[in-house]
């Protein structure tokens, strides 16, 4: 079973990397780009778990390890 975790900086947190990418895109002529936010993507393969257990496990992993709640938020998807 595959799970995906998307970790992004909270909206209130300034993202220096996203800003740099945004500036680069503008200098390349992509005028319509209003903002860029950089984040992290994790693909996690789970074995031998019922879907409910898989969901709670990946939530736990995202909360405790993959994201730092001081600066980041996360979103989890689990394949059914």
């Amino acid at each position: 079973m595959k799970a995906r975790v998307y970790v992004t900086l909270k909206k209130s947190v300034f993202d220096p990397q996203g800003k740099t990418i945004h500036d680069a895109l503008r200098s390349l002529g992509y005028d319509g780009v209003a903002d860029v936010r950089q984040g992290k993507f994790f693909e996690v393969t789970l074995e031998g778990m019922a879907p409910d257990k898989a969901k709670s496990t990946i939530e736990d992993i995202a909360h405790k390890v993959l994201a730092n709640p001081v600066i980041e938020s996360y979103r989890v998807e689990v394949d059914q």
Partner: protein, 231 residues
């Protein structure tokens, strides 16, 4: 006094910290491997700079799960002095022993340069005996040292007097250029509520002998040692 220096895989300032404790300050010192959880006989613990676990995931994020961190947490809970330098500070944040998190530096560059930091508090083990307003010169070497807390939490930290060091000019004034990494309120170092756990991004262990350009860092080690001597 016996000072323990934790070595994580990827630590690179552990020998510097050990050298300053042992050879510059003449104290007993020993390394503690990150898989050990025995801190017996130690009077203080230093988490050194470096790139523990390659900074994979986030700085300090994997290192905080090392067996030694349970022991460090217990040591701190009993009031034992703990000093986190640079990556060691980041590990303490991830472990929840110190507040905040580090963002990428505001200019997105790895910064390796001398900075000036002003002492804001003298009621911690590494600043006891110094004076509020003292300006110390020592290097920073980090890519993620941009201290962040939401505004309300940052003001609470200030109200509680837990900002220990701030980036300033040589003469002790805060300005945007002196705040090299863009930290909230130019915060360079903080402590926990109980004041026995201190973290700072600059490297006192790399500025503890005049030959290295500054011996100011030695003052933090000497303060730590003084604080360990029974009155």
């Amino acid at each position: 006094m016996r000072i323990g220096v934790v070595t994580f895989p990827g630590s690179n300032s552990d020998h510097d910290a050990y050298h300053v404790a042992k050879h510059v300050c003449g104290q007993d010192a020993r390394f503690v491997w990150h898989k050990d959880s025995d801190l017996s006989g130690l009077d203080a613990v230093i988490l050194p700079g470096g790139f523990a676990y390659g900074d994979y995931l986030r700085t300090g994020a994997i290192a905080r799960f090392s067996p030694v961190m349970k022991a460090v947490t217990a040591f701190a809970a009993k009031g034992g002095p703990v000093l986190g330098i640079c990556n060691g500070f980041q590990v303490l944040q991830e472990a929840g022993l110190l507040p905040g998190a580090m963002l990428r530096n505001k200019n997105v560059k790895f910064l390796s340069q001398p900075v000036h930091i002003r002492v804001e508090r003298t009621d911690t083990p590494v600043t006891a005996g110094l004076s509020v307003g003292d300006v110390l010169t020592m290097p920073v070497a980090h890519g993620e040292g941009n201290f962040y807390l939401p505004e309300d939490e940052a003001s609470r930290l200030e109200d509680e007097g837990r900002v220990v060091f701030r980036y300033t000019t040589r003469d002790g004034r805060t300005d945007d250029a002196a705040n090299v990494n863009g930290s909230v309120n130019a915060i360079a170092g903080v402590c926990n509520v109980e004041r026995n756990v201190v973290g700072l991004m600059p490297h006192p262990e790399r500025a503890a002998e005049a030959e290295l350009g500054s011996a100011d860092g030695r003052r933090l080690f000497e303060a730590l040692i003084r604080s360990l001597v029974p009155a």
